[in-house]
Symmetry: C2
């Protein structure tokens, strides 16, 4: 039996993950290994690091790896050896989804250690989206659309210092829907930024589905050239073509925009296959099953060993033969979403179409997150009242404004971070019209923590509580979610419904208490009370109460975060010795401030919440780190 052409990293679970060590890369580079082999070896490392992490963006990491290698090679004076010398420029990714690919390239070049490679998305490990805490990463990422502006900032600084250096920024093709991209173009050409190269990973699939179906780039060349830029295209999986295009682009006057045509998930057949009328691409984010992993590794190994390009077709039969597994392709159905654990997202996916069937005024707006915000059933059932805005949150929110003025009740969906921070002035403008809009912000709060702070919305409550005329409701379970929407719709007010996407609280409660300023009893108790909101945090509170035992600690939710407490709430809380108010957000004019404004409660209340910028890592580690797990709560009550 021949020696396998890879090393092995063993997880705590015992699973062996094939990968290439830095040293193997060094010797391959010294022996003039082809870029095809290096890129596919990086794919192995990408997949294994994501498998270890439990989540990550496989599709775009696979589509972008040749681009990243070519950019690094170009800036490293046309070499993969010795990156310690002065680089001829700066390279970074704007979207940051391609973190595993960025890291794989850095690891190949010896900038990241073997151990680090497998610390992806762990506490104090490699962040889910690249951050400057990792030496060599030039700027923080994770929020789309900022890259060209950031590149221009680097160039201005260099120019002030009298330095001429290339700056290359990698964008996604879905990312081109963000207005900031286009906002950044004109002054780059005004300022003759020949230092600037933008390269787009043109893999034609965004979060949910095909770019052409979400928000097509009609004539990208004309649009880009119209802003005074150079425009080039190339094959994004051909290292040589990428390199010559970068070299050619680098010699042009003014900024250059390169559209590199790629295949999402390229290099593994079942990851890159997506039907032309597919609705749900499965490998945008998340990991793969053990079976999928084995199959993919076999295919990648085969490509490495035979020096076969990632774009060469390998038949299902051949793959089956390689790994002894049946082809996994049949597991996939591009018309159906992936299974996911029960959460407020899955509940919302069911509740929303029910609401729409009885209320013809409801109109859904979505920013390319139909899977992650649960709008996909409504989209199918009510296509006339579903508006796909693309990754264009400002546009989406302003559209919602005039829909509301026209008598509709728009329900606007995105991740809480993006929904509350990207179109903030647009939400304010809508609020000045006293119309009714429902904003649904998902991924609210600390968890899930693997993607990092750009996706962990902790500032959403402070911002939405600052904007006028908006009530904030954070439901904790399916029933509270239903009641939240019923209340939001009936109130005729604008509402921000804050959705923690993790957890599924199933305990019962009586409906009567669900109103602004009211408490919802989740568990009885005699001496202490915990006031919480959201599914996982309330679960932790209940667990803490169980650990304390003897029915000592009551648990309530306070769903209307920015409403002052009603009399009954004050009466109830006055009966306790000690009250913990849990806030899955940074300090805001919300729950704690509202409750502490009651003189009778002030001395009893301790806020347990978040401050500043959250840690990223596995949910369990991060929850513990920030003192929001049940054990930490027990400590505070003992």
């Amino acid at each position: 039996m021949k020696t396998p052409n890879f090393d092995t990293f063993t997880l705590d679970s015992g699973l062996d993950l094939p990968y290439w060590k830095s040293s193997r890369f060094a010797s391959a580079i010294a022996n003039n290994a082809s870029p095809r082999v290096l890129a596919n070896a990086c794919r192995m490392n990408i997949l294994s690091s994501i498998k270890a992490a439990g989540s990550g963006h496989i599709g775009t990491s696979f589509s972008s790896i040749e681009i990243i290698l070519a950019c690094r090679y170009y800036l490293n004076n046309s070499s993969f050896s010795d990156t310690t010398q002065e680089q001829s420029g700066i390279f970074f990714s704007s979207k940051g989804h391609d973190a595993p690919s960025i890291y794989a390239a850095m690891h190949m070049l010896g900038e990241i250690s073997d151990i680090q490679l497998f610390s992806l998305r762990r506490l104090d490990g490699l962040p889910g989206h690249p951050e400057i805490t990792t030496p060599g990463v030039p700027t923080n990422t994770g929020s789309l659309g900022m890259g060209i502006s950031k590149a221009k900032g680097f160039i201005h600084a260099n120019r002030i210092n009298g330095v001429t250096k290339k700056v290359i920024v990698l964008l996604g093709d879905g990312e081109l829907q963000e207005g900031q991209i286009w906002e950044a173009l004109p002054t780059a050409s005004r300022d003759d930024m020949s230092e600037l190269i933008v390269i787009v990973d043109g893999n034609r699939i965004q979060s949910d589905s095909w770019v052409k179906n979400v928000s097509p780039n009609q004539n990208l060349e004309a649009a880009v050239k119209g802003h005074g830029w150079n425009y080039l295209e190339c094959n994004g999986h051909s290292f040589d073509e990428l390199l010559s295009t970068l070299e050619f682009g680098g010699l042009q006057n003014g900024p250059t925009f390169i559209y590199a045509k790629t295949i999402k998930g390229c290099g593994v057949e079942f990851i890159q296959n997506f039907s032309e009328n597919g609705l749900f691409y499965k490998f945008h984010s998340g990991s793969v099953s053990d079976r999928q992993y084995s199959s993919a590794i076999s295919e990648i190994t085969f490509r490495i060993e035979n020096d076969i390009s990632c774009t060469a077709y390998i038949s299902p039969e051949q793959i089956s033969e390689l790994n002894g597994l049946e082809c996994v392709e049949s597991e996939l159905d591009s018309q159906k979403p992936k299974d996911r654990p029960l959460s407020l997202i899955s509940h919302w996916a069911e509740i929303l179409p029910k609401l729409m069937s009885v209320n013809e005024h409801l109109v859904v707006l979505d920013a390319d997150l139909s899977y992650d915000t649960g709008t996909y059933i409504a989209r199918k059932d009510f296509p006339d009242r579903y508006i796909q805005a693309g990754i264009a949150e400002q546009d989406m929110v302003s559209m919602a404004g005039t829909l509301a003025l026209s008598g509709k009740v728009p329900i606007v969906h995105s991740f809480a971070s993006f929904l509350t921070m990207r179109p903030t002035e647009q939400i304010f403008n809508n609020a000045t019209e006293h119309s009714q809009i429902i904003y649904m912000g998902f991924l609210a709060g600390l968890l899930p923590s693997p993607p990092g702070f750009s996706h962990q919305a902790l500032t959403d409550v402070g911002i939405m509580a600052t904007l006028p005329n908006i009530q904030i409701i954070e439901p904790s379970c399916k029933k509270e979610l239903e009641l939240s929407l019923n209340h939001a719709i009936a109130s005729k007010l604008s509402t921000y419904v804050r959705i923690a996407s993790v957890g599924d609280l199933t305990s019962e409660f009586t409906k009567e208490d669900f109103r602004p300023g009211g408490l919802v009893l989740r568990k009885k108790g005699s001496a202490f009370a915990i006031v919480s909101s959201g599914p996982w945090l309330t679960e932790e509170a209940i667990k803490a109460s169980d650990m304390i035992g003897r029915d000592m600690c009551a648990v309530y939710t306070y769903p209307f975060l920015n409403s002052p407490p009603i009399e009954e709430t004050i009466d109830i809380l006055e009966g306790f010795e000690k009250i913990l108010v849990l806030e899955n957000f940074t300090p805001a004019m919300a729950t704690t401030i509202n409750l502490m404004s009651q003189p009778s409660l002030k001395s009893k209340i301790t806020r347990v919440g978040l401050y500043g910028i959250p840690k990223n890592g596995w949910n369990s580690e991060v929850m513990r780190f920030h003192g929001l797990d049940s054990l930490s709560l027990v400590d505070l009550l003992n």
Copy 2:
């Protein structure tokens, strides 16, 4: 002597303002008056309503009036008579600067009364930027870039209702620098929005100067067509050409973008003259002097009486002859800014270049507001460290981020509303990098109130206090401004410096107290204390103390809005019976919350601040309305 061809509105001051009553328009329309005459009569009304208001945007109102009249005519079934019947569509302005022109057209069509016309920018009058509170205005304006998205919202609502109606939105050419404009384009063409017509008031001058110098639209036609839109151009002062272009555009498949070439200030020679290398166009905002007013009215009257187009040249001699005044053109110097009352803006204009001369790391970023944020001297003295971002706040803030990572200290300028709400996620992203950026937000707080809530930043403190790693300082006088910047720079932290653009507090204070959590004594007192920040609000506090007399009421400023009080502050405040904490912003995790968190102070403190959406109107009326004038403060202390 012949009867003058106008009516007269007499101000309280006794000044007579010539204008056309609605009834005069009605009879002119019935007698088939030419569009030239109607447009110039609207110009008279625009100028007189702005003269009555004391401020307004003359330049863009004069450049856009023919466009507005043509759009209204087109949608009113090709007629200026009887707008009470069903309109064939919706028309609105995106920028809202052209409010006086929008109102003049509405008044001409009988939708606004003669009295209302002269309520411009007054409490409960016509808002500085159009709002839905005025019947006939479809949506709230004042924040740039939202118009196309809003038009799309109307169209989606119409489509859901099975209605096909045109929606025409008027944009500025400077406004095209906002990313949201470009974000809004792709899905309009995806959705075949033939109902949508965008028309640009292409007057080539933005807030400060020429568009071509600020951020040129390179090849607008290519850029717009690249997103799948139709593109047309026309003469924006020819009613007939505008009408035929609208009619042609309205018949195309897909959305249509019309660039109407206009002249800013068109119709009055001295208002439209701006030299090709001019730096400061004087008639973007503000009113005119009595002398300028007389001259302009004479010229407009001459054009009306002789049915002369706004674009026909009239020589200085001829104008002089008309009004008996010397030509006012010599008063203008396009290289110098307008005089303005002393305020923190004028102080900043002087302080900034001094700071830059001793600190080579400082880099200034500006979003087309060099006059209103006082960066124009720094721009002249340090062109290599001045970056004109154009009206592109997100781009500007992200550039600042990487300048900071490169060792520069960027100082980012805009109006507080736009700076804190348009690039909120970009500021957050920068904050996660723990770099040092100084954000300078002007027009902070309630005053000036004539422009309306889009420009009255009350939410800025709440938002910036929510974002991590940002200290907030609000200086009250020139000395505090200097100390604020010294502190901000020395601290190595990111700082939001909040500038109330109105007032000039000249009282002395001792420097020692200026530090985070510290109080600055502005006036001694024995029994009561007022804690304030910002120039005009502190002036009101001092006036209130003077009125109370007997050295009863101390006045302090608390410049570090989101810093907890130091011991000395607590000690000082404990000595008073009653403390008013003034907040020129809506509730936030700032001064009041910080001070009230001290048990010894809580019962003594009354917050006097703002809630929700502010009124617009004259400063004195609005200050009084919101209880932040000296008389209201005296009432609270007696």
